[in-house]
Structures are given as C-alpha cells and as structure tokens.
C-alpha cells in the first residue's frame, strides 16, 4: 500500500505527460517525422519489437561488460589506493579531471584502438564507470570513523583485519551509490559509442540510421527501449543494494 502511494505521483505525471504530448501533436498537426505521437511510437515498437529486442540486448551486453570492468577496476584501484596514499595521490587528480572531460568524446579513438566491434564500446563504458566507482569507494574506505578504528586498535587488530572487517563493509553504502549512478553511465557510454560505428543490430546504430532517414518513430521506439533497459538495470542494482545494505533503507524510513 505504501509502495502504491509512493509511486502514484510519478505514475500520474507520466500519464499526464503522455496525454499532453498526444494532445499537442494532434492539436498543432505536428508532422510525425518531427515528433510522432505516443500511440504511433508504441505501434512502431510493437511492429519492430524482435529487431529492437536483439539490438538492445546486444547493446546492453556491451554496457554490462563495460560496467563490470569499470566498476570492478574502480573497486580494486580504491582498495589499493586506500592502502597506499601515494597511489591514491596519483589517481585522484585524474579522477577529478575526468569529471570535466566528456569521455564519450574519446569514442572515435576507442574505435581506432579496440576496433569497430564490442571492444571499443566496452572500453568507453568501462572508462565512464571507473572513476565514479573509484572515488566513491576510496572515500568510503578512508572515511572510517576514528572511534571504530580505536576500537579495532584496542583489540590489536592488524591492518588486514581492519580492512576486511571494518573499512570494506563500511564503504558498501557509498559504493552502491556509485554502482547505481554507473548503470546509466554505462548505457550512455555504450549507446553513444555506437553512434561512431558498430554493427546494424545495435541500439546506437539503429537510432542513428533511422533518425538520419527521418524514420523518427523507429528512432523513438528504440530510445524508449534504451530507457526501459536503463531503468531496469538501475532497478536491479537498487534492489541488490536494499538486500545488501538493509539498515540504509530502514534509516531512511524512520528518518534517522
């Protein structure tokens, strides 16, 4: 019941938005190649669903691989960085600089290095997810509160024990924040990289080629699928977070 009340406003806004969209297209007789009405997009989606499904699974595969590599390396680098301030000092400026550099701009170069196949897309998705994961996890690993450390010290815990029993579990909430944000980054990285070249059966190439032929409804239906995939990806990670960090949801609920 609470879930229904929680999501009701969002659903209402969505329904309202679709209705307004439909009405505006009808009222101003907007050409379908400029902005197709929602029902046209849905019809197109139904028609080309098998093609779209194949393309989106292909792209999602790239995004997922890039996500795994980027987030995985991010966690490992943060673990090493937390043990060696010198290494963290070398990596952190790049992490901060990467926030201002559009990594997708490297996509054409990635194709030169890793080929037109999935490799270049995975590389971009990995690059986009690496730094947020690295920064958040490092902050989590080093942000252990002093009294927890004193407690471990008072039992003569080794650095290794402190890392495994205190720092690592303590960094999990921050890590999940990054893992959630990286789901959409990985999808963006994969789709946008495909704009610069890739197989026909991928979402990015599908969107680009249909849009350039003014097949706007097909492009929109592909965007819709990409959006649904991104949301599902995000949702799955958020669900895993709820199971892994139950006290966080609990605290939000009681407002602590």
């Amino acid at each position: 019941m609470r879930a229904v009340r929680e999501y009701l406003p969002a659903v209402a806004v969505f329904v309202l938005g679709v209705a307004v969209w439909e009405a505006v297209v009808f009222a101003f007789s907007i050409e379908f190649y400029l902005l197709p009405a929602p029902h046209v997009i849905v019809a197109s989606l139904r028609q080309s669903f098998p093609v779209l499904l194949e393309a989106s699974l292909y792209t999602f595969g790239e995004a997922l691989a890039g996500y795994g590599v980027g987030c995985g390396l991010g966690v490992v680098a943060a673990a090493l960085g937390s043990r060696s301030p010198a290494l963290a000092g070398v990596l952190l400026p790049y992490a901060i600089a990467s926030a201002s550099v559009p990594i997708v701009a490297l996509a054409p170069l990635a194709i030169v290095w890793f080929g037109i196949g999935p490799g270049s897309k995975i590389a971009i998705a990995a690059l986009m997810t690496f730094f947020p994961t690295f920064v958040a996890t490092l902050r989590g690993l080093l942000g252990t509160d002093p009294e927890s450390l004193e407690l471990m010290r008072s039992c003569a815990a080794t650095e290794w024990q402190i890392f495994w029993t205190l720092r690592l579990p303590g960094s999990v909430p921050l890590l999940f924040g990054a893992l959630r944000a990286c789901t959409t980054l990985a999808m963006i990285g994969a789709v946008v990289s495909e704009f610069f070249g890739g197989p026909m059966k991928s979402l990015g190439v599908y969107i680009k080629s249909t849009a350039s032929l003014f097949q706007t409804r097909q492009a929109w239906s592909a965007i819709l699928v990409a959006c649904a995939l991104g949301l599902t990806f995000y949702g799955v990670v958020a669900l895993v977070e709820r199971l892994a960090v139950p006290w966080r949801a609990e605290r939000e609920r009681v407002g602590a």
Binding site: D145, E147, S148, E150, L151, M152, R153, S154, C155, A156, A157, Q161, T165, L166, P169, G170, V172, V245, P246, W247, E250, R251, A256
Partner: protein
C-alpha cells in the same frame, strides 16, 4: 602493586604555531579490581588520559605501566576492553556478531566463541535480541551491546569514555547498577571518564578530579560507600557528602565553559 601506574604523564598537542598543554604531570596508581572515575571540566584532558592508558595516544612525557608492561605491550596482549560515548557498533553485523568481533580479531577458536558471546549477552540481558541489528535497538540497548563487546574477551582493564553520556537519566541509572554487577563479576579494573559527579561517586572506589586545562590532579576522593551499591545508596547522607566533596574541587574554567556551551549549541 598497582595494575596501572602513571608517573608524571604530560601531553601537549601542537596547535597552530605553538602548542596546547592538555595534561601536566599526572601521577596515579590504580589497584587491580578498582573502579576509578576521572572527572573534570570540558577540555581538561580526561579522555586523553584514558587514551594514553589504552595506548591510543602516546604521552609527550612521563611513563605509563600497565600490568607490568608498556601500554603498547598491554594492548597487543589484549588487556583492554573499551567503551565510548557512542556505541560504535557495526550496522552490518547482528548484535551477536558485534559482540563476537574482538574474539574474531583475536582468532579465538570457533567453538569457544559462541558460548562466550551468549554468556555476555545474557549478562547484559540482550540474549533475546542477539539476531537483531544495532539500528533496531534503543540507545540504552546499543550501549549494553558495546559493554558486552568490551568484556567479551575478558580484559583485565575496562576503559570507558563517558559511556552513558548520551543516555537519558533513567537508563543511565539502570546501566550504572548493571555495570557494577558486571565489573564485580568479571573482576575487571575500570577506568571511567564522566561528566556526572553523582555517577562518578556512585560507581567508583576513587574519584580523580582533574583541574581545567592543562589537566592536573586537583583531588582524589576516596569513596567509602558500602557495597553492594543499590538504588538506596543514592539516598545515603554519605553519598551527598561525597558528591559535595567532589564538586568543591571541580573548577569550571570560565573560558572553556563558554566554548563548550557554544560547541553544544552548534
């Protein structure tokens, strides 16, 4: 022979260009099984003194001997249990896993861990909550878990840094009684930092009053109240005499008091 000996212990912290003297020439002997409270105005260095004994902060000068060893050797021998004002429990561990933590760190044999954890949880009355998570417990219960954790490895010395400072008066008085039972049962020597004169007198065999910064021993008050101490102890005329005696030597530094008040308001 005392279990803890402090000999002219001083501590200065670097502060800006100069330095701040937190403790000055503190000498004190604590016998095995004693319950000694440290009390003094904010910033008098009582928490620092506790941390020096526990080898969490090194002294600037002077020597500390614990169990015939240096504090570091005592820490490495796991002679200490420690309780802070905040419970410092790990959210991702259940109550029993939190209590078990020191045993895991000390690599106790697995078979012996459970029995020991259960015993301590029964002692603090939380056996029924052993599968709960810390965030499902009240503040008083969380602090009981912290006390069970501090005592689980049967340390010779229990260090407590204002452990009940964040609790309401009723919970605090109940936990005071429980703590005396636990200390008696485990025969641990307790060093207890507090802001509350009544609490210090009620619990202790001796109350050490520290002066405002730099902290020096202003007075040591022997508490000759009968044992076992109960709710009735708080109503004894002698209890009030001792509270008054401690309070007389407790000088609040006006400058620091203002800083403390502002800090509390923020």
């Amino acid at each position: 022979m005392p279990i803890i000996t402090l000999d002219r212990v001083s501590k200065t912290y670097p502060a800006g260009a100069g330095s701040t003297e937190a403790l000055q020439d503190v000498s004190l002997g604590i016998d095995r099984g004693e319950f000694v409270s440290l009390i003094g105005p904010s910033g008098c260095g009582k928490s620092t003194l506790l941390r020096i004994v526990g080898d969490l902060v090194p002294p600037s000068s002077g020597t500390v001997t614990v169990n015939g060893k240096t504090p570091e050797a005592a820490r490495l021998d796991r002679d200490y249990g420690i309780v802070f004002q905040a419970p410092v429990l790990y959210d991702w561990r259940t109550v029993e896993a939190n209590v078990r933590l020191p045993l895991e760190v000390m690599s106790w044999p697995r078979g012996e861990r459970e029995a020991r954890v259960r015993r301590l949880l029964r002692l603090v009355g939380l056996d029924a909550f052993r599968r709960h998570y810390p965030w499902q417990l009240s503040g008083g219960m969380q602090q009981r878990v912290a006390i069970a954790r501090a005592l689980v490895a049967d340390p010779a010395i229990l260090l407590m840094d204002e452990p009940f400072g964040a609790l309401d008066e009723m919970t605090r008085e109940r936990l005071n009684l429980e703590l005396l039972d636990l200390a008696g049962e485990t025969r641990a020597t307790v060093l207890f930092v507090t802001h509350s004169v009544a609490e210090a007198v009620f619990l202790s065999s001796r109350v050490v009053v520290l002066s405002p910064r730099p902290g020096r021993i202003a007075r040591v008050v022997e508490v000759d109240l009968p044992r076992p101490r109960t709710e009735k102890t708080r109503a004894l005329p002698r209890f009030f005499e001792l509270v008054t005696a401690v309070r007389e030597h407790l000088v609040e530094d006006p400058g620091l008091a203002a800083v403390g008040a502002r800090g509390a308001a923020v």
